[in-house]
Each structure stands twice: as structure tokens, then as C-alpha cells.
Symmetry: C2
Subunit: 205 residues, 2 copies
DNA sequence: CAGTTAAACAAACATTTGTTTGGTTAATAT
DNA sequence: ATATTAACCAAACAAATGTTTGTTTAACTG
């Protein structure tokens, strides 16, 4: 029995916590498709290839699972946005905002399940849990606050409205987006162009 | 087997179905606050002043209750928008759209619970139910399709984007709106102004 | 009055829920 | 080899779930 070398046991598979990612993936998948309340621990366990009780070796509760998915989701979408902003032209604040919005949309629409869970409406059961999740999202959205504040606006007071319009329109896109339709980057370009130039006839594009 | 087709909205017989509205209100209240999956029939029954089983005299299932709330919600918000558009200046298509958006926002933010349930993310459990609810909302949103198509746009192709931006930003407002903040009508005015005139310096008309 | 019936109750139903517990396996370390 | 421990299973748990059933109450009608 012990004659076999450790060739079949993947060396890149650490013995400790190597199933955590798989469980989190399954949870994110289910939370996105069914929502938190409608997802059962047995759903998640089944997708992860184990029994419901076994999940409690890795996570102490269903709530902890939701928080972990949120944290991972915020981390991913924030990284994507930060990278896009860094790669964008530092001299063009509109382009920087567009790059951030495109990354946000891409994470939301063509990305995995995590980002969708972050954006989706939060469960209102436990106020404490709700506060935790809202804070996670707010910290992320601060990026857009800074990007919008850097714009040369005709009315500086509009920075807040601009942020709300763009993030709202973007977050709502998951209800009408189709993978065979306009890609996320183009959606972002349209959004930015419209709020930047307006739709009044005669405005130069 | 006399199939009674009594109008449930008929108030001529107070004794018949006079609790329907109360039950629907309770359901809308709970669905808005907790979401559909997290709301129990006992929650609704408790708010309506009866036991869970008694609900089944008025509605055949929890699903039927959700559909009824959606139908009532769409009816209310559609009526509000239609009235606002009729009262608006027929010669100014931008004002007409703004009036519709203001009515939409008002129903969503300062209105009752029904509109929020319509807007909230739909349960994905039963595809058939989901299709029913989506169709209800789509029929309502057709109003905005017509209003946007009537605009004198610098780029006619942008009608679709304009509708998506405005409805998206509006529907997302429930996540950041505070009753002591900017009132719905002013929010609508800001949204319209920005997409109409743009934010490029010097474009103030 | 009796007869009918809308409306609700009281109690149970069979599942499903999140979670706990104790035991089992197999890899690792000593 | 022995001990340890990460990881999981198998089974149960109490509570909660949507729904059904038989019965009761009270208002209307003839």
C-alpha cells in the first residue's frame, strides 16, 4: 500500500485547507443563482463533493460562508479595477474613470460568481451581518468617489450624482446583459460618453 | 360546480374578500424587507392578523401571493407614471421623460412596498414564475422605451443606452436613497440634466 | 327560525432547514 | 510502528417550512 510514491498525490495540493477554494466557489455559484436565503448548505456541499456536515469543518456557519464569499468578491473586483486604473492614461481622468467602469462591468458580467454576489441585494435578516457586508462594498466604491472627484466637471457639485448614475446603471446591467450582446468595455464607453457629452443635438462627439 | 368569477376588487360586498388587501399589504411589506425566500407564510399571517393556514383560503400558494403583489405593484407604478406623463408638457419630450422618471422614482422610494418588490431581484427558483414576473416588469418598462424614442437625440442610436442608464440608475437608487435627502423629483431632474447636457465644461445650456 | 357560506382556527402533515456529534480514513510527523 | 491530525462521513437533532385537513364561528339569506 505504501509502495506507491507520492506521485499521484498532487504536490501543489497542500494538505491544509485545500478544499476551501472549492467550497467557496460552490457557495458563490449558488448564492449568485439562487440568492442566500434560497441556498441550502446541502446545495453547496453537493457542488463541492461532500456532505453538508463536512462544510462545518471549514466554515463555522452559513453566515460565515456568505461573508467569505463577499470578501473574496470585493477583493477580486477591487483588484481588477485598481489594475485597470493603473494601466490607464494618468492625464485623462475621463479615460481613467472609463477604465474603472469597464473593469467593474467586466467583473460583474463576464467575471465569475463572486462579484455578482457582492452586488446583489443583501439579506436583511441580521443587521450586524448586513452592516458588515455594506461596509465591504462601500470601501470598494470609494475608488469611484476619488475617480469622479478628479474629473473636470462643468458643475463640481455633480460629482456625487455622476457616481450614483454610473454605478447604478452598471450594477443594474446584470438584469439586461446578454453574453452575445455589447461587451462590457463598450457598455462602459457608451455610459461615459453620454454623461460626458450629453444627448442634446449639436454637441460634438 | 359553479365557477364564480367575482371581481375581487369589487367593494359592493364588503363581506367577501375584504381581507385580501390586508394580506397583500402584509406580503408586500415582508417581501420588500426580507425578500421572498426569507419570508414565511407565518410572517405574513401574523402581520395580517391570522394564522398561516388561513392564508390559503385567499391565495392558493406562496407563489400566488408573490405574483399578486407583483401585479398590484406594476399596476400602481404604471398608473403613477402614466398620470405624470399625461400631465406633462406634450411639446417637451425631455420634460415628459423627466416626469415619468420622477413618478417612477417616487413610487420606488416614497411609495409603498409594492413597487420595491417589483424592482427587487426576482427569485430564480421556478423558471416559469420568473418568466411571469419578468414579463410584468417588461411590459411596464415599455413606457420608457416610447418616451426615449421620442427624444430629439444627437445620436438616435443612443435611445436604448439612455433608457438603460436612466432606469438602471433609478432602480439602483433604493440602495442609497435616504428619506431626509434629495427628494425623488429632484433626483430625476439631476439624472435627466446630466444625460441631456453632459458634464463637459462649457456645455451648460 | 333554519340553511348557507365566507372566513378563520387548531392541529397536524411531511419535508427541509442549519447545525452538532461521534466515528472513520489516510496522510504526516515522531 | 505509533501518535497525531486534517478531512470527511454518517446519522441524528430540533426547529422551521409550506401546505392540508377537519372543525368552528359568525354573518348573511330565505
Amino acid at each position: 500500500m505504501d509502495g506507491q510514491t507520492a506521485l499521484d498525490t498532487d504536490a501543489a495540493r497542500p494538505r491544509v485547507n485545500n478544499r476551501r477554494a472549492g467550497i467557496l466557489n460552490a457557495a458563490a455559484y449558488r448564492f449568485r443563482r439562487q440568492g442566500y436565503a434560497a441556498t441550502t448548505m446541502r446545495d453547496i456541499a453537493s457542488d463541492a463533493g461532500m456532505l453538508a456536515g463536512s462544510l462545518y469543518y471549514h466554515f463555522k456557519s452559513k453566515t460565515a460562508l456568505l461573508i467569505a464569499v463577499h470578501e473574496e468578491g470585493v477583493r477580486r473586483i477591487a483588484d481588477a479595477v485598481d489594475s485597470a486604473v493603473i494601466a490607464a492614461d494618468p492625464a485623462d481622468p475621463w479615460k481613467r474613470l472609463e477604465a474603472a467602469l469597464a473593469a467593474h462591468l467586466n467583473s460583474l458580467l463576464d467575471g465569475g460568481d463572486y462579484a455578482q454576489v457582492v452586488i446583489r441585494d443583501l439579506p436583511a435578516d441580521e443587521p450586524e451581518l448586513r452592516a458588515t457586508l455594506i461596509k465591504l462594498r462601500d470601501d470598494y466604491e470609494d475608488r469611484f468617489r476619488a475617480l469622479v472627484d478628479a474629473l473636470p466637471l462643468s458643475n463640481k457639485q455633480d460629482a456625487g450624482w455622476l457616481r450614483l448614475i454610473l454605478l447604478g446603471a452598471a450594477n443594474w446591467s446584470k438584469t439586461w446583459y446578454r453574453p452575445d450582446g455589447t461587451p462590457p468595455a463598450e457598455i462602459a464607453a457608451h455610459f461615459i460618453r453620454i454623461v460626458k457629452n450629453g444627448e442634446t443635438p449639436g454637441s460634438t462627439t
